[in-house]
Amino acid sequence: MPLLKKNFSVLPGFGPALGFTVAYLGFVVLIPLGALAWKSFDLGWGEFLHAAFSARALASYRVSFGCALIAAVINLPMGLLIAWALVRYKFPGRRIVDALVDLPFALPTAVAGISLTTLYAPNGWLGVPLAKIGIQVAYTPIGITLAMIFIGLPFVVRNVQPVLEELDPDMEEAAASLGASRFTTIRKIVFPIALPSLLTGFSLAFARAVGEYGSIVFIAGNMPMKTEIAPLLIITELEQYNYAAATSIGMVMLAFSFVALLSINLTQWWARRQNGDT
């Protein structure tokens, strides 16, 4: 295999294993995605742009990206807080909390969707007190954002946790011995080290929320131009056989996914370099 870096490997089976891996990857993932890209090209530039950036599409991007951004921004400090508490403090129920952080990830999206909706509906457990202070959550962008907060929670926590766990106490001790207050130490020493992981978590939460469907579509209300998320718009167009529109908007979302994936990889690479182990 000219592909192998070492020109000989004593372990057998490289050829068949890699061959099958690539073939399977091609059939299951690459060809279907290729179909989407190909279909977009088929449309021609004009029609593509017209469909991808129609008023309704643009509104859906505003909703999806806008709410996802806000949700990720909120998840950032809260996620850091939770990670800090889990790593640095002992308190009753810590292990349960640690396990629960993964729940939004483990719970099927439709289940999360109906649960959140029922929770914040005008007659829901939280909907009632919120209504009393005049805030309506269900079927508004606020609801969408809350659902996105739910989904994004594990991403920030799980990315920051390992970094905090592996933090060398020496540095904090050195700072303290040099007279820095606790707050300064955290601000100038711990935070910069945790920054790449925070960014990674943020990007992951953001990217996830933009593409999410099941958890959001129930609470969203789905009014075109107002509370319609992009994934839903794609489905609606499909149901009306507007393949062109569905493809174009889908392509926009796919492009976004790739950009997100790329930037996350870059952030992680930067993080590794910062820690000196590339």
Partner: protein, 283 residues
């Protein structure tokens, strides 16, 4: 994950500490615990008997059966993929390895709706193969095969993602030792490599299964929501909910939530096992 004993220099004043803990706890309760409890509360709102009737109704059971069949097809396929991918990536060094890893991660970062869309574009009535399929009277979209494909796409990386780091951490020395003792490649794989990675493998399979069972967005696109024929359990939950049949919807939802909780417990158990086995390796 045990908390280390943090040194004196690493401690905040007590009031800060308890403030942070309260915020963290409060947030978790608000964001995660409440919705979780609500699922079960709503499911049992009309009493235990009603709950059981809902869960075992023919519609729900049918949806469950379909979901199970799909999982039984999808999970073994993606497991085989995960094993071959992990073997080639973890035990060999080759150009393009990082690219391959990134490609494998793609379904993970793509919206589930896109995951369904791509198959409609391939096999739908106006899709690339639409006419060919129609001529041969094969139904993929709006039928089980379509759901299988979409689920295959969405759960594609799960087993591989767990196996690869685990097998990488094992190194290749035990395999070399086995070969030097006369074992064949397959013998080495089944007697040495797999047993060492068994916890990661099991967890990967569990995650894959949980996602296969719970997938909603992608399946929504390809299934057509035809009750009794193409609705999976999550779709079934949606149908019930949209009919305002809340108790039934949440009852079905508890089955799915149950799987989710099981995978949470399994994750902690597996992490514990992996930590233990890493401790065993000590030189």
């Amino acid at each position: 994950m045990a908390t280390r004993d943090f040194t004196l220099a690493q401690r905040e004043p007590n009031w800060v500490k308890w403030l942070v803990i309260s915020f963290a706890l409060g947030w978790i309760i608000l964001v995660v615990v409440l919705p979780l409890i609500l699922i079960f509360a709503q499911a049992f709102e009309e009493g235990g008997k009603e709950y059981l009737q809902s869960v075992f109704s023919s519609d729900t059971l049918g949806a469950f059966k379909r979901t199970a069949i799909i999982a039984l097809i999808v999970v073994p396929l993606n497991t085989v993929f995960g094993l071959t991918a992990a073997w080639s990536i973890a035990k060999f060094d080759f150009r393009g390895k990082n690219l391959l890893l990134t490609l494998i991660d793609i379904p993970f970062s793509v919206s589930p709706v896109i995951s369904g869309l791509v198959f409609v574009l391939l096999f739908g009535a106006q899709g690339y193969f639409g006419d060919w399929l129609f001529d041969h009277d094969i139904q993929i979209i709006f039928a089980i095969p379509g759901i299988v494909l979409a689920t295959l796409f969405v759960t594609f990386p799960f087993v591989a993602r767990e196996l690869i780091p685990a097998m990488q951490a094992q190194g290749t020395e035990e395999e070399q030792a086995a070969l030097s003792l006369g074992a064949s490649g397959l013998q080495t794989f089944f007697k040495v490599t797999l047993p060492n990675a068994r916890w990661a493998l099991m967890y990967g399979i569990l995650l894959c299964t949980a996602r296969a069972i719970g997938e909603f967005g992608a399946v929504s696109v390809v299934s057509g929501h035809i009750r009794g024929e193409t609705d999976t359990l999550p779709l079934h939950v949606e149908i019930l909910y949209n009919e305002y049949n809340f108790a039934a919807a949440f009852s079905a939802a508890t089955i799915l939530a149950g799987f989710g909780l099981v995978s949470l417990v399994a994750k902690r158990y597996m992490e514990y096992k992996i930590r233990k086995s890493l401790a065993k390796t000590g030189v």
